[in-house]
Symmetry: C2
Subunit: 401 residues, 2 copies
């Protein structure tokens, strides 16, 4: 019996560990691999043979791992370049040394490129006993060929909850108030759009629509004139028509000549004050919390993330399964459900799925009912979170042990 190796890459999410938990649990259910190794800090640590043995993880640890945010195995931004033969050779040597048949790699489109590259390399060199399987994750929800990405639903749930609750707060005074909520989303507006599930967003600014100062300021003025309030959600990646980021406008020099990007929300606030659209405005930038706040996991999201891990394990029991990403699509029918399948990782690599233009209402007025119908099932239900001394229980990261 050969072994397998699981590793994580890219920016983490609130449910990324659930996929690892699924891979481990899958093997405990059918013992296809003798050992399940965890590679620390993605490809970077694998090339240094930094492994832990996860084969016999207890059910309790598996349970807590699913509610532990961020990559418990550590992450990396290291990208295997196709012309870096040395790295490829070293990786295959290590796989041979540890008798690793399958490498499961969790990540976004960069990681799917790694999976595709390694699989191609094996094929070209006639290596049939080393296989590579991609598992999707990204809060950004911008991967192609998958209905939605694990991590996205939980981030949207946290964002919509924050929108709803800060909206209740900003309404309490009779005075004029403008609130600006900034979400992640450098290239795609999925997360910002998700805030609209709260049903309280007045104006939505997405990267998919070139930002026009004049019409936006007018929209704010109209809203404030009508109800003395305006709740705005903006994606960090919003751009002017010339392609420059709003966040860059507010950049400062750090003293070494490097620009420090200000937030898009802060730029918006200053614009609104300058143009007299309002007398005061408050910015809340959700920053890291929106992808790390596992206390607000969507149960749908955790379960799908776990199931993608299980599915990856089970599909990998076919000795010809390589260079694939496991994925999910929406099942037909009235009730929300998903079906699991797989796709060539190369078809996912290096593409970005933007928020659909036909789902965006004109003049910053939010998103269509169809978009709401797409998003709504993804945040439904909450897992029972286990606590210890008033704080969520978590698995100590394996790279810290």
């Amino acid at each position: 019996m050969a072994n397998c190796l699981v590793a994580q890459s890219g920016g983490p999410t609130a449910v990324i560990n659930a996929t690892i938990a699924g891979i481990i649990k899958g093997n405990q259910l059918n013992n296809y691999y003798e050992k399940v190794y965890g590679g620390l800090h993605g490809i970077e640590g694998i090339l240094q043979e930094k492994f832990v043995d996860l084969t016999h993880m207890s059910e309790e640890e598996n349970r807590i791992l699913r509610q532990t945010p961020a990559s418990a195995l550590g992450s990396c931004r290291y990208k295997l370049k196709r012309d870096n033969v040395e790295d490829f050779e070293k990786l295959f040597e290590i796989m041979e040394k540890y008798d690793i048949e399958t490498l499961f790699y969790t990540g976004g489109n960069d990681s799917m490129d790694t999976v595709a590259a390694l699989s191609e390399y094996a094929q070209k060199n006639g290596i049939t006993n080393r296989r590579f399987v991609g598992c999707p994750k990204t809060v950004d929800n911008d991967l192609m060929h998958i209905d939605h990405c694990p991590g996205f639903g939980s981030a949207v749930k946290f964002i919509a909850e924050t929108a709803l609750q800060t909206w209740l707060d900003y309404n309490v005074y009779t005075r004029e108030e403008v609130f600006i909520l900034e979400t992640m989303g450098r290239d795609a507006g999925w997360l910002a759009a998700g805030a609209c599930l709260s049903n309280i967003v007045d104006l939505l600014v997405l990267p998919e629509v070139a930002f026009d100062e004049e019409s936006f300021v007018k929209a704010v003025k109209d809203c404030v004139a009508k109800k003395n309030k305006c709740y705005i959600v903006i994606s960090e990646g919003c751009k002017y028509a010339d392609g420059s980021y709003l966040a860059a406008k507010n950049a400062k020099n750090d003293g070494f000549g490097h620009a420090i990007l200000g937030g898009a929300g802060q730029t918006l606030k200053e614009l609104l004050l300058e143009k007299g659209a309002c007398q005061r405005a408050k910015v809340q930038d959700l920053s890291t919390a929106q992808r790390a706040f596992a206390v607000c996991q969507s149960l749908t999201d955790v379960n799908e993330s776990f199931n993608l891990g299980l599915s990856a394990h089970l599909q990998s029991c076919n000795p010809e399964f390589s260079g694939k990403m496991v994925a999910l699509r929406r099942a037909e029918g009235e009730e929300y459900d998903v079906e699991y399948f797989s796709i060539d990782a190369s078809e996912v690599a290096n593409f970005v799925k933007a928020f659909p233009g036909e789902w965006i209402l004109p003049n910053y007025q939010g998103i269509t009912a169809e978009a709401i119908n797409y998003l709504q099932p993804l945040i439904v239900s909450s897992p029972v979170i286990l606590y210890k001394d008033g704080l969520p229980a978590y698995v100590k990261p394996y790279y810290m042990r």
Copy 2:
């Protein structure tokens, strides 16, 4: 049978409505008052006779009210000035018109001053059938003569959870990382100190200690040298030795000559980059979310807030009870518990309780074990939150109906 009136003032919290829920439920249990009116937007709305009838609130609405953040009755910053005889006379006229025997007023030290002033006015003018009862609330935890304030525990729970979860996120890469978490607390460091419950804070910057650039930069350099990471928590109200706010240093002009305060965390980030203490730093400013995030209520906090409402109602059944604030103190014994009592509102008005100097470790190293022992019980246990379509159920604010 006379009536009573409840109203809310000042900045809201995640559990402020639980006190109102307690006052209403108390009256449903003994029918001391014929009607329980809700006054909208505090004294401001009461002077305009903006009332709703809350007497027969259903158990279901009462239950959901307890998990609804922010002031469901609306709030105000309007302060009754002792020399404004017109306002006083008008208020007593309105109380007579609606036969209001008792006004329950929820708020911080400004609101307790209002309670004291109204009670004194009644006494001076020989008015014996109008009474005033204060109910404490503030996330800042800076009221005197009460062990801790309702709203504080839930805010600390959210802050400590965010600290823990963003810390797990910032650790995933092997590269150097500095993370700065900014909390509320203009005059007192209670909220920032609460982050230390997460047990991951490297450096803590409180308003109670004059900020010294040189020693702080050295502390960061030492921490980064040791572990390549540094997790910093800073209170928005941190000041230099000359009394100026760190946040003011980063102020910009809004185009009309008004200063826009930058955050203390942003100032800290720029300082650290300028001084070469680190190569990159990320700021998360918790802003409004930390006082509004009722999904992360502490059950201890909600229950105490509800019980203070019940206690206020029950103590008010004594016809001589006026000019008082209901309060709680820690019961003696090993197990955490509280006892309810009351104190003259004038003793609470206009004072601020700072975070104790003897609980602060030198050199930004956090807080003592005694401080942790004080804070820890306040975040324990989580209520079962009721959801609707994936988002927390809430009571529509009464001022919007």
